[in-house]
Amino acid sequence: MGIEVRNAWKRLGGQAIFEGLNLKFPEQGTICLFGASGCGKSTLLNCIAGIISLDQGEIIGVSGKKIAYLFQEDRLLPWATAQENISIVLQNREMEAEKWLAYVGLAGEGNKYPRELSGGMRRRVAIARALAYGGDILLLDEPFRGLDEENKNVAANLIWKTETAPLKILVTHDRHEAEQFGDEIWFLEGPPLKKG
């Protein structure tokens, strides 16, 4: 069963983000949520991830599912090395973390702290963390933001070649990205968020 957003209501900072929003995601594939910045796409991902709760309504099909999240920002622990940042989601299985680092082309960089890595390398550590965590759903919130074309291709290749998370939800406001990666593109507008 896929996930379903049913009659969702959410206000943030006095603004209505969702007003009776209904969406039904399939069990697998990459669903691309395409829309302008600030229309509420990231809030929707945060609700699916369980980071913020709905004022009203429900999200069906997420309970008991493992959800990995590649945030807009890298969100790496600055006091942990690249390897520790990955092993932390692997119940501290360091060898496996090393494997994931090698997978994203960062073998031998495991002892470096995030500030010692370039922007592209930090992004790859964040990708490795999300992929290592695995699970049923992978949420991707503008995953290529701030990356040059070369790093973007590397990152995209890593995300879509990995056999993990049958359902991927990609948020973007870049039409080219949406067409390139989405199996389905949902045009969204708002706030309040609705399917266009």
């Binding site: 945060n46 991830a49 369980g50 980071i51 959800i67 990995a68 999240y69 945030f71 920002e73 969100r75 622990l77 600055p78 006091w79 942990a80 932390i88 989601v89 702290y113 995030p114 500030r115 963390r129 965590y133």
Partner: protein, 264 residues
């Protein structure tokens, strides 16, 4: 090559410090000669000699040990209570509003006033401990509170999303975020606690303590002993500070506390 450059830099810094110390000892000696009365100013050599004499007596070590215990007890209590209260006052605005004036009063009140008041309230033996506690509490409380407020919300969301759980989130996100604030509070407040604790010993005439010895020396106009015990206080203060730096380094290995430059 790199090691030799660092070694040379350390050597130069040490030499600079020694030269500065020699200059100030020289100034002290000149003042002593200019005043010419031992009851007002004693020479550095006499003070040094007196410290050596004192160090051969059992009482000296007993006094020093007791004073250290007074200050460290107060310090530890201040750290523990501050660390317990800070999260609550951050979480509950009412508690923050309730305790804020109290903290401001503690910060603004002269230590001497507190010592005299506390002498009325509790047995004099506990006054140095309590005063050290009072000096440490607002600093630790305020700093930890600030550290908690500054925790990166994005990292907490990440921890939530990747199901760290409460303990792991505390260990891997909260603690490393707050540690630099706690360490800064500890290093600042230890010096405060030490000075205020000794002052409390002086005013409460605490038995078998450095402050008590300073009080006795003052009563009997033994200026040499006042200087000697004051020098001991300064030496112990430096020692405690060094000890704190060692502890911070040890904690740093686990929580990267020292590493503002490494990750900050």
């Amino acid at each position: 090559m790199m090691h030799s450059i660092i070694r040379n830099k350390n050597l130069i810094a040490a030499v600079r410090k020694i030269i500065a110390a020699i200059i100030w000892l020289g100034v002290w000696q000149v003042i002593y000669l200019a005043v010419g009365q031992e009851i007002l100013v004693v020479s550095p050599a006499r003070v040094f000699q007196r410290i050596l004499e004192l160090a051969t007596q059992t009482e000296f070590w007993l006094d020093t040990f007791n004073s250290m215990i007074h200050v460290l007890e107060g310090f530890a209590a201040g750290v523990v209570v501050g660390a317990i209260l800070a999260p609550f006052t951050v979480k509950y605005r009412f508690l923050n509003d309730l305790f804020r004036p109290l903290l401001n009063i503690v910060k603004a009140t002269p230590v001497a006033s507190f010592i005299i008041l506390v002498l009325v309230w509790i047995p004099s033996a506990y006054v140095p401990v309590f005063i050290a506690f009072l000096m440490v509490l607002p600093v630790v409380w305020g700093n930890i509170g600030e550290g908690i407020r500054k925790i990166d919300r994005n990292l907490l969301e990440m921890a939530d999303c990747y199901r760290f759980g409460k303990w792991k989130t505390f260990q891997r996100v909260t603690l490393p975020s707050v540690m630099p604030y706690l360490v800064a509070a500890c290093t600042t407040s230890l010096g405060l606690a030490w000075k205020a604790g000794i002052a409390a010993e002086v005013l409460s005439h605490a038995k078998y303590s450095i402050g008590g010895e300073i009080y006795d020396a003052k009563i009997y106009l033994e200026t040499l002993d006042v200087f000697a015990w004051t020098a001991v206080v300064i030496l112990l203060s430096v020692l405690l500070e060094k000890l704190m730096v060692c502890l911070v380094r040890a904690a740093g290995k686990k929580y990267n506390v020292e590493a503002e430059e490494k990750w900050g």
